[in-house]
Amino acid sequence: MQISYEDRKDCKVMTGKMALPNHYFAGRLGSKFIIALRDENKILGVKCEKCDKVFVPPREYCERCMSKLDECWVELSNEGVITNYTVVNYNDKHLPRRAPYILALIKVDGADTPFPHIVEGIDAEDVKTGMKVKAVFAEETTNTIRDLDHFEPV
């Protein structure tokens, strides 16, 4: 007997799942950054002396000049400014909030690079680049950057 392609009667769809347990490690620098959020409610950055720039989140090497960064930690302010934002209007299992919520790039005072985080306490229409915000820390730890729960307008 032959296969029939036109009427696709032999074709089926089998549902399944791809899921495996993972156990990720933040590494020495990542741990220090997250512990500072969790235990001291502080935001730390690393400074590259040669490029005279403070980076958040921390990384072991400066991408531009390859100098090692893991000794020069800098304590940064909990306040900063929105440099870019979007209003996420769709829902999905990996998203940290129900839609609509504000995902912004926030440069805290003392840092040269903004990092992505959530802004709450303001309507989506009123958010503007350049707004001043301050950090609100989480009660429960999640061992990630979400130990800083969100930013809200100052």
Binding site: R8, C11, V13, G16, M18, N22, Y24, A26, G30, I34, F55, V56, P57, R59, E63, N84, Y85, T86, V87, V88, N89, Y90, D92, K93, H94, L95, P96, R97, L103, L105, K107, T113, P114, F115, P116, H117, I118, A124, T129, T142, N143, T144, I145, R146
Partner: protein, 380 residues
Amino acid sequence: MKRVAVCAVAQHKCDSNIWHKRFQGMLLDVLEDIQKQTGMHFSEEGGVRSIVSASDDVFDARTISDNGITDVIGAHYREEEKMAQESLNALGYAMSIILSGHEDVVYVAGHCKESQGESRNVCTNLSYDPFYGRAMGLDYTNVAALQARAYMEKSGLTEEQMAKVVVRARQWAEKNPYANATEQVELGDVMYSPMLCDPIRTMHAYPVSDGAVVMLLASEERAHEFTDNPVWLTGFGSCMDSYFLGDRDLASNFALKQAAERAYKMAGVKDARKEIDLVEVMDCYAYQQPMWLEGLGFCGDGEGAKFIDEEGPAKYNVNLSGGMLAGNPIMTSGLYRMAEAVLQLKGDAGERQAADVNRAIAQSTTGGAGQFHTVVVLEK
């Protein structure tokens, strides 16, 4: 530098839900298509002995997913290497296999089914590091939205201009038998479609798509065995930008400019505007078409918005295939861009055929907000 010929291309029609075929089935259809076109065979003497596939384990939900397609790309007892990256890079690597003298004929095969997984955003969220990126739910959609805002603030790109890009894409897609989204839309439909991720609207984003594309490359000496109308691969370049969004100026096109510069240098192109007759860019979202055209040198920095109003894309034959906005899968868009460029240079583009096309470029990107770009230059 010796030259590499693209002898033939075969595209599978893109669709948002090819539920009736395994990805092996899609690849078999296009294999038969290209065999018909070129008489290509896999015999040990003179046949295809080297194959470069392009796909991704996370989208295929299968470890070593090129093991699943070994049979349908003819790799049984042959050499096969998988480009687990955007498929245009498979072209660059295949080019090197021929230029190095390792093999004379290389078969390139890319596939991807975005409809198989529950959501492509969940897959692209897995591209980020678990502690900073994934925890914030970053994925290629919301990160592109951040880039859209940065670019709109820099170039003054308006809702109407973005709508024009989508409307034009659909007009050309209608003439492309392989495109996915072909129903026509008005400016208003696009401008008032619901907001997906401010400032990206649902109509600005490319539809979920499944598809597969294959190509046959050969050395200059042996191209005539497979075609009498070869297209020459003369330029290739790619470039990586920083990973952390904060380390980048999202509207700077840093990686695309470098990739284009290297590809143009290899192909001997001095000024894109004068020497390139046709452009295929990977515009996953409407704002990306003007932005990538800036990066490729078709207009100055920040002038993409004006370029749209001046009908720039029409002038330079941009995305006559309907582009990515007409719906191609994320991992295989590069090959769909390439395929259109090759057909145009061969004069086989049917309704979409542009006049005297002698040199064309195809561009693709991967990573969040264009972290990595690839550019290929093709000539008649």
